[in-house]
Subunit: 147 residues, 2 copies
DNA sequence: TTTCATGTAACTAACAATGTTACATAACAG
DNA sequence: CTGTTATGTAACATTGTTAGTTACATGAAA
């Protein structure tokens, strides 16, 4: 199944932006992500609509983070992206008449809802600041490894 | 995203088979599932390879359950289907060089692995007998509702 | 007024799940 | 042994989704 990688993409982009002083253009972000500037605009547009980032046109334009890194959680980003489906496995038929299928659906839905709750809970516990700190650790380790 | 509904399908099929005395043909199961007998054979084939069901050709042939309903868990069925990916959300890039992306991947993978563990745990706690019992409850409720 | 940037529509490509067609193979009834 | 009923499976079509691409409009600033 083709997985939705937009959450991963925006996190990657946001952390690169956090490393920069000024705004970062879609072109630069596209290079970082290994994709196309239009895809960046399309995806980052969701975050703009949610007020998490801002974009400016023209000279010295680009994308800027509009919020404190410590106040943005993965859950907020997931919501900003429209809360896409988490699971690649699902019921064959929602709302079936067949009682057998209703039992099957109920069992699977119970398990999936529980897992989704856990995921959302974890997402709400992780902020951009946490990721930035993890990156700083990796960066320091890389430097000491090379010396 | 297009979800994999094979687990839901085989559960539905197995419960219908459990309701019958003799073997059930792919044609009958296809009607129950609202699909094609070839799809049934293809999907049930995984369960046959895992020894959970058996199939016989010719007259009075069809599919039969080869195990006790109480001993078959959703997890076994998931494994028999080849342990397909559970999540529709994923990293943009596995094994990235970029340290930023490594931090992002690590955070997301941690959350997803935790959720997957929970799901597998729940799957291993639910047997076909549990689903059959739930179906019996629904069936009884339906009958009393109609009277 | 030129350049640099985003905004967005429309189209293409890639891929995976499911559906379909066609035919081979096996079991059994008569 | 032959016809019928069933599975086994390869090959192809359909559908749906994500991501990539092209093209052009719009706005801001040098």
């Amino acid at each position: 199944m083709k997985r939705d990688s937009r959450l991963s993409s925006v996190l990657h982009a946001l952390l690169h932006m956090a490393e920069q002083d000024g705004p970062v253009t879609s072109d630069i972000l596209a290079q970082c992500l290994g994709t196309n500037p239009v895809v960046v605009r399309r995806t980052m547009g969701y975050l703009r609509d949610a007020g998490i980032v801002g974009s400016d046109r023209g000279h010295a334009g680009g994308w800027r983070i509009h919020a404190d890194l410590g106040s943005v959680t993965l859950r907020q980003l997931h919501e900003a992206l429209g809360e896409p489906a988490m699971f690649a496995i699902g019921n064959r038929n929602e709302m079936p008449e067949c009682l057998v299928e209703q039992s099957v659906n109920a069992a699977l839905e119970g398990a999936f809802e529980e897992a989704e709750s856990l995921l959302l809970k974890r997402f709400s516990e992780i902020t951009l600041a946490d990721l930035a700190a993890d990156f700083a650790r990796r960066h320091a380790a890389e430097r000491s490894r090379r010396s």
